[in-house]
């Protein structure tokens, strides 16, 4: 188990290196640097700025310097927010994004698994159809449609919750963004759980458990649920990546000061260092979380544990 984790962790390194390299060169070959777009500066000032950002050195030197910086958590200065380093901006935004994303993920898991299990146990009942219809809606509606609609209904028409903003990050500010982020994943996880639960309940070992005279709730929770959760656990990797990507648009809509918002601002302003920093940070996060998911899978299914 330990060596498996270690091997997987080592496997992450080359992938990260690829990401950093691709991102770096993609941006450096970009037509037009960040300082050409505003107004033309006197040549000596431009040279000064370029020197300050190392843009006058050969590409390889820049690359190695950048790589060294990334290893120590230094993504360089932001082009746009000139008083801040990229690391500082990420540091400021991450707690907010984490709070949103983790809440959404947790809610999606708990509600999705519960709804899916209930639907599977009452297969083809009215309840089952209701859950599946709602789930279809959640899957078909993208979060950038759900989010403004939620804001319109609960924020403007009903005036129950703030339309947008993040005054102190309290409950009221969280409800709408977290709901918009979680809904598609509640739907997806519910469908996934239902499907695999129906499959598992037909399997031979469930028949054995029933033949043993165990109470039905024990059959479901102890024998069926863990097996039925395996596809859900596999989905957690893509779901994490999806929630992180989704946070970009959700933070934009609800004006939440998280990493995603910085990222969009950075992208619109061609703040290359900021964009790259966020990409590398999130790529690392996604890969580490994927690793955690794989380990979790091994915990749930002893058959993969010793391979």
């Amino acid at each position: 188990m330990g060596s498996y984790a270690l091997r997987r962790l080592i496997g992450v390194v080359p992938t990260l290196l690829v990401i950093i390299t691709v991102a770096f060169f993609m941006i450096r070959v970009a037509p037009g640097g960040p300082f050409d777009i505003e107004r033309t500066l006197p040549p000596e000032i431009e040279a000064n700025i370029k020197a300050a950002y190392d843009l006058d050195k050969p590409l390889v030197v820049q690359y190695i310097k950048y790589l060294g910086g990334v290893l120590t958590g230094d993504f360089g200065p932001s082009y746009k927010y000139k008083d801040f380093t990229v690391a500082e901006l990420i540091g400021a935004g991450f707690p907010v994004s984490l709070k949103l994303g983790a809440s959404a993920m947790l809610i999606a898991l708990v509600l999705g698994v519960t709804l899916g299990t209930v639907a599977a146990l009452r297969q083809n009942s009215a309840l089952d159809y209701a859950v599946m219809t709602v789930a279809m809606t959640g899957i078909a509606l993208p979060n950038f449609v759900i989010a403004p609609l939620l804001a319109l209904v609960f924020g403007i028409y009903l005036s129950l919750l703030p339309v947008a903003g993040w005054s102190d990050g309290g409950m009221a500010d969280m409800v709408l963004p977290v709901t918009a982020m979680a809904l598609p994943y509640i739907a997806y996880i519910a469908r996934l759980t239902r499907g695999s639960m129906i499959e598992v309940l037909r399997s031979n070992f469930i028949r054995t458990a029933r033949a043993k005279g165990l109470p039905e709730h024990r059959v479901v929770t102890k024998h069926a649920l863990r097996a039925a959760l395996l596809p859900v656990v596999s989905f957690l990797g893509p779901a994490t990546a999806g929630i992180i990507t989704g946070s970009v648009v959700i933070e934009q809509i609800f004006q939440v000061p998280g990493i995603g918002r910085y990222f969009v601002q950075g992208a619109l302003n061609r703040d290359y260092t900021l964009v790259m920093g966020v990409v590398i940070f999130y790529a690392t996060l996604i890969m580490v979380l994927n690793l955690v998911v794989d380990l979790l899978y091994a915990v749930l299914d002893p058959r993969v544990r010793y391979k």
């Binding site: 991102a23 037509p31 279809m136 078909a140 950038f144 989010a147 804001a151 970009v248 992208a267 996604i286």
Partner: protein, 296 residues
């Protein structure tokens, strides 16, 4: 004896056809899927011919009708936006762009994915290992961020968007095709072709690709809505389609900004997008169930 040697060669096409007929029959019994096909066909038809026959042009400004709600007398079915353009024709235009991008990007991803997967699966061995390892690495990348970087770096260009979306969506296709190729490779009719000296590219083209149609059909119905979604997502953020062209994502974004004063600007494009995505999802489910009935 003669029968015995002919059978493997004859069997696949015959089975293939009846499989498709079967699937079509099952699909036509799936009421949700049939309804989705009808609704989607209507939306697509409107999107294609609507902008030509509509009374207003999508970029024409009506200064005396700025941001009015749906008004049949003035001929604005969905109302107008904040600079006085007809929202109905703009929504159809947006749908048209979305569909166009989806079709183009899906074709790009199909082309790359099928070729890549078929080659990896058919050649096998170390090449296969290497090629699939590359796909694994690409999978681990947060591709949406890369598309965004691409759009930032090379400007917000619609052709580039086809290519960028196609270039990230092919991974799944490559995996499916490789898996199918591996299982097909060892089937009798391919072995027979190899034994009778047919060249490799010919085998890939004539024998393997036709047999992939089933999974590919499922993949297409799932990828098109996926691409529409990503395109809208990018446009929503202001990184996709640019003025004066429009797409559903752009319209929804504009609508979200004005939802307090002009909610119709949000509601109509959002409804059209949701309808299209709904239909594709139902069709996708239907096609999957029809081709693989045991999956239900």
């Amino acid at each position: 004896m003669t029968n015995g040697t002919q059978a493997p060669d004859m069997a696949p096409p015959v089975r293939g056809r009846s499989l498709w007929q079967d699937a079509l029959r099952r699909l036509s019994h799936n009421r949700a899927a049939v309804a989705a096909v009808v609704v989607l066909a209507l939306v697509v038809l409107l999107a294609v011919v609507g902008p030509w026959i509509a009374p207003h042009a999508y970029d024409e400004l009506y200064f005396d009708h700025v941001a009015i709600g749906p008004d049949l007398d003035a001929g604005f079915l969905f109302g107008t936006d904040t600079v006085g353009r007809d929202l109905f024709v703009r929504t159809l235009m947006g749908a048209r762009i979305s569909i166009l991008v989806a079709l183009a990007a899906t074709s790009v991803s199909l082309l790359i994915g099928i070729l890549y997967g078929a080659i990896a699966g058919f050649v096998g061995g170390r090449v296969d290992n290497l090629m699939m390892r590359f796909v694994d690495i690409m999978y681990a990348l947060p591709f949406m961020f890369f598309v965004i970087i691409l759009m930032v770096v090379f400007g917000r260009n619609i052709v580039l968007m086809f290519l960028a979306l196609g270039a990230v969506e092919w991974l799944t296709m490559a995996r499916i095709v490789r898996g199918q190729t591996l299982t097909l490779k060892n089937r009798e009719f391919v072995e027979a072709a190899v034994a009778s000296g047919v060249t490799r590219p010919r085998i890939i083209l004539r024998h393997i690709i036709p047999n992939l149609l089933g999974p590919v059909a499922v993949y297409i119905t799932l990828t098109i809505p996926q691409v529409i979604l990503v395109e809208s997502f990018l446009s929503f953020l202001g990184l996709g389609v640019q003025e004066p062209l429009t797409s559903l994502g752009v319209l929804i974004s504009e609508g979200a900004d004005e939802m307090e004063t002009a909610p119709w600007m949000l509601i109509f494009p959002a409804t059209v997008l949701a309808t299209m995505l709904f239909c594709f999802n139902f069709i996708g489910d239907g096609v999957r169930d029809a081709l693989d009935p045991k999956d239900r």
